[in-house]
Symmetry: C2
Subunit: 208 residues, 2 copies
DNA sequence: AATTCCAGAGAACAGTTGTTAACTGCATGG
DNA sequence: CCATGCAGTTAACAACTGTTCTCTGGAATT
């Protein structure tokens, strides 16, 4: 692999990325279903027809954005759920990781939160597929945890589902508090931490 | 109150409602930020300019839809959280109420789920305001429950928040499974029930 | 060095959009 | 019964949309 691709394909990928970036920017103040192809090309500074060299439609571009936003997130998931430390330490680290990711990729997070239930079917589907993969990975990680001894498959899946949803909820909360005073951001940390702690407690007593 | 309003204002409210209904229908396949005013009036069968007699913009119409979708939901909230029965019975009833509401008002539920993180600021704000009211009501109901004895204000609020979010998550799940085979719908009931049960268990052991 | 390929430009299309202004007809209040 | 108010109509506007076809310059291939 890593075949140094010619200056031709390199330039193509460059404009393609520029289109993705511009779209992501424009999507901070609207939904994908109202994003126009001309709007995107205008923001990049290329002719409208150039768009078709890279995407069939804005919906197609949306699907590409889903992969950009979620595809590279799988490694993080693993370190979030599994690994060492007692319960409180793991929770603290998970919340910290989420907060950090929202701070470094706010537009991506906003895009996912917005389009997860958004008006474009194919994009909704792409997000659901990725989240389903996340859920499976979390479930696999949970299965290895000694706390989950004796849990059946359905219960593991419902807990994984709960964790993934909770992650997104927390990320969305951080997003809304991004430009808020630090006081409120700490309240978000507090709420998220306590919610995860409550879930954790429920988990420990599940088999009673 | 209840002053039988003249046939003039009656007709006005009628077209206003027709605009709201038509918009709600159109919003099943797109987001509010891409909903055109002409699109709505065309669906109703009135002139585009008639729109301005009722709403400043489609965003304004969206805010009205929020109140229609969530405003009448407050009484239900109360019966969902509080009232009699042991833990499992209350959960079963809550999940049933949510499922029923999704079946009878699917478009409203879809609208809220979609626009909660959608591209129109004022509508997002309106939804957040209503949800904050819900959270306060749930918190008040929780405070009266003997299980919550000894809980401080912050913990009550975080639990109320968790319940409200869980309610929306569940509603969204039911929505996606609306036209799916009954088998999958029962799986949704199962997952939602177990998640609430886990939360309930965590709640009982919170003060350990 | 000659040829093919292709990312992007340019122009034109039919259709759409939000908003304005001036109007019409009918229910309302004096 | 007559004058006023106002929901909804009609017509027109400039601006915008997605998509098509044709063209061009320079990289890639032979």
């Amino acid at each position: 692999m890593s075949h140094t691709l010619g200056i031709r394909q390199a330039q193509k990928q460059k404009t393609r990325q520029a289109l993705l970036d511009a779209a992501l920017g424009l999507l901070e103040e609207q939904s994908l279903s109202s994003l126009g192809l001309r709007e995107v090309t205008r923001a990049v500074g290329v002719a409208p027809t150039a768009f078709y060299r890279h995407f069939r439609s804005t919906a197609d571009l949306g699907v590409a954005l889903v992969e950009e936003a979620l595809g590279s997130l799988h490694p993080m998931i693993r370190t979030t759920v599994s690994s060492a430390g007692d319960s409180d330490q793991r929770i603290e680290r998970a919340v910290g990781l989420i907060a950090h990711h929202v701070e470094t990729h706010p537009a991506h997070v906003r895009f996912i939160a917005r389009e997860r239930h958004g008006g474009v079917q194919s994009v909704r589907q792409a997000i659901q597929d990725q989240l389903a993969r996340f859920t499976e990975e979390v479930k696999a990680a949970l299965a290895k945890d000694p706390v989950s001894e004796g849990w059946n498959d359905d219960d593991l899946r419902m807990l994984a589902h709960l964790y993934v949803d909770q992650m997104l909820m927390t990320a969305s909360l951080f997003l809304d508090a991004l430009e808020a005073p630090e006081e409120e951001r700490r309240r978000v940390v507090q709420v998220a931490t306590r919610q995860m702690r409550l879930i954790s407690i429920g988990r420990e007593h599940w088999l009673d």
